[in-house]
Symmetry: C2
Subunit: 425 residues, 2 copies
């Protein structure tokens, strides 16, 4: 557990929302009373200041032109460390999903802490990661068009650590043909559907038969399976989440054992995520956890509750924020900021203003955020004031920005390109 | 009215959703039965094919790597023409909002058809438009930080057609100081709040006093006002929308007349949008309409109904689509595609599959779209099939892509950079 200063007496509070707000209030620097600083360094200026891993200017996060995507380095590193130590203690590996951060710098931080590789959702994302020095990549989505299959096999030719998922016999045959044509042997895992019928092939015989086919096809090297239960990650209540996850994964384990009994290589059984990271090692045979959001956290994950703190999922800290500026303060009970749907998405629960306990923030307008003071007349932001909001759902928010600012204390320590931003193809 | 082949007998149908679906089925090329073409040209390859306004390769839209953002040129041009002719007939100008398309090419098409300028929502958007040859720009959002004020004034120094909105006395004074320091006279309009309390200053005396101050401050040239009623645009039912809009705009007209009686320059009274484009000329004194979404249309606007077709807002055609590929077809009643929230946003109503009448498309997953056949067992997309979906809300979807493909028939005629993509600051 990361040491977050919440008094235990608060854990018994009946209102989840109040408890969550107190957690957030306690967990970060408050925006209250901060002056409107004179500068507002643009994205372009900030890129100019950053070279060879060093900032040539001393810039506070409060001086950034807004909206600006910020990651708190102390919190990010604590999240990375906590995940690494949990994995070690539980005897399971992590293979973090880069779809969350799309940022090679963070992928390297994960690899440096012992992750066995990263996952990518799209082949373009995998290419971006490889071009930035990541060489252990599991592409969890099948590539079904000839171009994407060729790109995946081309990536495999350059990157021996690249592994491609597939979920159908015709697709496995196309992968085989492409690999043979390129003179390579491609590593492949079967994507097994955990029962949500989105991608993957069903548990049991269908998955076994696909695995056996891959094992026999020329140009392919069968490495195991993945089974990502997306529906489990946001189940509210730790015990409910745990029971549901482990019950569903029994069939995944059975499928793995079918493969083992058939003499297939089952060195990879990848699954799980941030919501189940401390549950997945109890699934027999699972080798690594595809955790993504733990690096940043968000309002959606806070709400699911944790093992020790049943109301607030506080295992990881909310390191990712959007910095925004107040544009209008003329109307009672509210203010308008510059971070709306194009800066925060419209995911819900809405973003949470860091350091505030009674304010509601809405990013439903494309260009504007709405700050509502509710029943707290003491709050009264002024034009030019800056607020930091914890985002609702980290993945699609990151995908809106070309760069994120790495902050230590209040100081901008680095400008990280989000190299796979927009790589949805 | 654009000539869209809807049989009039359908207008009397009781179910809006059925009527909307028939409209869409009739209004575009059907995806049904299209073969899975061999190629899948990537964004990078497509940029390489396009130079000096010409494509060096013959590429069908069905050959694009997906997800891909496409605009149908015939429909786009019809939308632009219909808006221009309506404006001419109604004796009012258009000043289209570039926040929708973020694309200089489309801004130039609008200017070529007689628009008096474009609007931008953020100064970074204005800079991107100016850098791409647009020299008549009204920035509708106030700039409140010293950096943004300096940038706006710097843009004004280079671009005599740049006009900045403001909504407070302190902000007007800062604009004045910046303009004087740069030795320029900056054109300014007052942003008047239509009653939604988001940005702008209230009707009547507050707006008049701000206008008078601007008129007196050194370095500023008062040009008039804007009053954008965002809340009016999506009111369902033309007559309701019209009554509400005109009633609310009475106070805007009263405010304008206060300014006129004070001897102020009121050459600009900008307001309205796509939902009220054929209503706004009835607001006394309004000079130009800030229409945005009409170029593309989307599922949200279709639903509001039009003057002639009360169920479907068919004044403009749905020119913007996302091309997507089926990834998984193994589960009954559904299929999974590659365009989810990162390609379509999670706005609702959900995207609509072009050419289909019974299919539901959901983009709620970050990476995947869900195709649901409902009660139509005849539909059965196969892995690799392409679908085109009409987006839910065009503005934030465009903001996810670096380029859009301009399509004539099925052929890609151009690759247009979305130069202001991500320019939310």
């Amino acid at each position: 557990m990361i040491d977050i200063p919440i008094e235990r007496s608060e854990a018994s509070m009946t209102s989840n929302s109040i408890s969550r707000r107190r957690f957030l209030q306690a967990s970060g620097a408050a925006a209250i009373g901060l002056p409107s600083l004179a500068r507002g360094y643009t994205a372009s200026e900030m890129r100019g200041f950053y070279a060879n891993g060093e900032m040539s200017a001393n810039v506070s996060k409060w001086e950034l032109d807004t909206p600006a995507l910020c990651v708190d380095l102390d919190l990010l590193e604590a999240n990375l460390d906590h995940m690494a130590s949990t994995m070690t203690a539980n005897g399971i590996a992590s293979r973090p999903h880069a779809k969350t951060h799309k940022c090679p710098t963070i992928a390297h931080m994960q690899m440096d802490r012992g992750s066995v590789g990263i996952c990518t959702a799209k082949v373009s994302e995998a290419e971006a990661m490889f071009q930035n020095g990541i060489d252990q990549i599991l592409n969890t989505t099948g590539n079904v068009t000839p171009t994407k299959i060729r790109r995946a096999m081309n990536l495999r030719a350059q990157c021996p650590g690249f592994i491609q998922a597939t979920d159908s016999e015709p697709n496995a045959r196309l992968l085989s043909e492409a690999a043979v044509a390129m003179g390579i042997t491609a590593d492949v895992v079967v994507d097994v559907d955990p029962g949500i019928r989105r991608t993957g092939t069903p548990f049991g015989q269908p998955s076994l038969q696909l695995a056996q086919l891959i094992d026999q096809l020329p140009g392919l090297n069968f490495r195991g399976m993945l089974c990502y239960d997306a529906a489990a990650q946001h189940v509210v209540g730790f015990q409910t989440r745990k029971a549901q996850t482990l019950e569903r994964m029994v069939q995944a384990t059975d499928t793995l054992e079918l493969m083992q009994r058939s003499g297939l290589n089952t060195e990879i059984f990848s699954g799980g995520g941030t919501g189940t990271y401390n549950i997945d090692h109890e699934t027999k045979g699972m080798t690594d956890v595809q955790v993504g959001s733990y690096v940043f956290m968000d309002a959606q994950y806070i709400a699911i509750g944790g093992e020790e703190d049943i109301e607030v999922y506080s295992d990881f800290a909310t390191s990712l924020t959007v910095m925004t500026t107040v544009l209008n303060d003329q109307y009672e009970g509210r203010a308008t900021s510059d971070a709306g749907a194009k800066a925060c998405t419209i995911n819900q629960p809405w973003p949470i203003v860091k350091g505030e306990s009674n304010i509601t923030y809405r990013s439903g307008s494309d260009e504007f955020g709405t700050i509502l003071y509710g029943d707290d007349p003491s709050r009264n932001y002024k034009v030019g004031d800056k607020l930091e909001v914890i985002v609702s759902h980290c993945d699609p928010v990151v995908n809106l920005y070309d760069q994120m600012y790495a902050i230590r204390g209040d100081k901008v320590e680095a400008v990280w390109p989000i190299s796979a931003r927009g790589m949805s193809a």
